[in-house]
Symmetry: C2
Amino acid sequence: MRVIDTETFLKECKLKSSQDVDFELDRTVLSIIENVRKKGDAALHSYTEQFDGVLLTEIVVSENEFIEANEAVSESFRTAIRRAKERITAFHFEQKERSWFIGEKDGVLLGQQVTPIERVGIYVPGGKAAYPSTVLMNALPAKIAGVEQIVIATPPQPDGKVNPYVLVAAKEAGVDRVYKMGGAQAIAALAYGTESIERVMKITGPGNAYVARAKKWVFGDVAIDMIAGPSEICIVADETAKVEYVAADLLSQAEHDERATAICITTNKKFAHKLSNEVQKQLLNLERASIAASSIEAQGRIIVTNSIEESLQLLNDIAPEHLQLMVNKPMELLPKICNAGAIFLGNYSPEALGDYMAGPNHTLPTSGTAAFSSPLGVYDFVKRSSIIHFTNEAFNIVAEDVVQLAAAEGLAGHANSISIRKGG
Amino acid sequence: MRVIDTETFLKECKLKSSQDVDFELDRTVLSIIENVRKKGDAALHSYTEQFDGVLLTEIVVSENEFIEANEAVSESFRTAIRRAKERITAFHFEQKERSWFIGEKDGVLLGQQVTPIERVGIYVPGGKAAYPSTVLMNALPAKIAGVEQIVIATPPQPDGKVNPYVLVAAKEAGVDRVYKMGGAQAIAALAYGTESIERVMKITGPGNAYVARAKKWVFGDVAIDMIAGPSEICIVADETAKVEYVAADLLSQAEHDERATAICITTNKKFAHKLSNEVQKQLLNLERASIAASSIEAQGRIIVTNSIEESLQLLNDIAPEHLQLMVNKPMELLPKICNAGAIFLGNYSPEALGDYMAGPNHTLPTSGTAAFSSPLGVYDFVKRSSIIHFTNEAFNIVAEDVVQLAAAEGLAGHANSISIRKGG
């Protein structure tokens, strides 16, 4: 793993590239969306046959399939899912927002009413990897927000079934229905509805390029969570960090994806070189060694800075998805961190803990978007309405100023709706 | 103004059309964005000459120009702006979120750190209409959130200046800098920066089709607020509502735009017909009569329902931007409202009050998006970071469950980052 200084690192960071513009992909995605909107279930079934290689007679996962799934997984998995659910629920409960009101003596009442989004759809990728943790991290905040109907869309396997881990997690999280559908066609069906699928108001969850583009196109007609990029970790370490732990954490990120990024920032050059050797050593024993090796080679860096201030500046500029502070007194650095999705403190808070079990959400802003966005949370599944009530007396106090401002904007009808009430 | 029943109204509401797909517009917008990214200030100046017809020597509004603007507006306007600022500030202050922590006995500390977005750009449209209220409604929540740098982009007039109302509002709201630039080129400069403009992390504010498309394209590289559609009002009225007020409020919405929507829902057929006549009568005296008449003709409707339950169902389905409850006991209906941007209660809370002076934000979700989104607020200018700290003891309690879940997802590196610490 390469050891470099801040200057070299910054030079290597070319202008962050804009999102890929691929009109060909967009045309394909748009034609799938339009087809599903026009032909509904028929189009959906035909795409499922074409892309997933299975002709479904029934798109909704049956109660029987849930029972089968439950029997197919181990007792220890079921226990782990249940415990994860408890911890995730407890944390997200703290995010619940209340409606509030404030009054003014002359008779003004202002407030904010918080209500759940009515129906939400979660996309869960299929294929070889199954992510039951994704189900919990998306469904539980929605549940706590009070969403009435939570559905999952996930592509069927070639045998027409859905991964049992996903189904067990869905049941545990209180998901109302699981649809066997994937790709852009699933996003279209969720966004606009078909004969058999009720449209939702928000779509969350990760997916492949088709899913991501489809989410971008339906955005506005429905809400979406975010367009997630490859995963990243940034570890700030000093000599109190155990080099074996840091190496294992960097590799746990690197095994995700060749495009994943694992970075360590330290002021200690000796530590940096020890870490580099340890990463090479651990890499040899990794199951997904070739993926991890590609990621480490392409994006993995150990950056040696001249001071902790330089480290903090750099990490705030990077705005990493995951940040581990493996330093002697991590709490002292916390107030200096502006941009990070999740911050893990100390030697015993590795990222993998947060991926599954700690409680906070693992759906986090990637690619520097932590500078302007937040982890998925209960706040993503509610909306607010402003409340405004003026008595006649209170109205008359502000009326003239409103007329002034409406006039400055050339909106006489607005001014009139005030004047007509004056002294009324 | 047409009086119809619910069934007829629903029949007329065809499938809500998706966003316009216009690859030609997209190509133009993308080429502008790419040019500004590559050539910076030079491209920006050249587009300003081309689209705004003015060759600028200086893009930043000078202190002198602010002084001139202040002298150009009336004392009563300055007073009204100041009072609006006070009310808007007081309301939005209530939206401030705190960072929080929770502890568990075995040594787990979890939390959420709330921090402001560092730099924000507000787009303020130019042209004949100037909207100082837009400046306050965007800048003040950002200010309260603690945003360090707030800048405005607004197209210059042909004389190279900026509308004085906008500048006075910008000064009052504490905006740090106003740039004379508009269109897609302004969005690109804000999103990616140029030699003279520092990039921002979030762009808010309304704009024309180019601005809207540019915002959609840069979304992901920066945050954006929303893509706003034409404005709407929905008034639920009973016989206690003054028909003159209801008519004036419908027309204040209709004067905005031919595509604006003004709807009244009532169970009282007699009231409906009186209202229809009153709208025609007031329309004659309106300054912007032709715009308002087109809007009323195309989208304006008075819907007569059979019950208040039917009215509520209908309005929740519409999810209006502005909702006025002009009924005898509006507070009793409030808990039954799920979807609305802002809710105005009673006879003396017309929408125009909320547009300028009441306190809550006037940037509201349009086109039914109130079913899944919120008014612009302080929460739009902060982001959250999750905080996770486990002691060695606390770690060992959950470690085995994490290993189980990582194994189910086929991520051995994740499991290893846990196992390596066990008993450590």
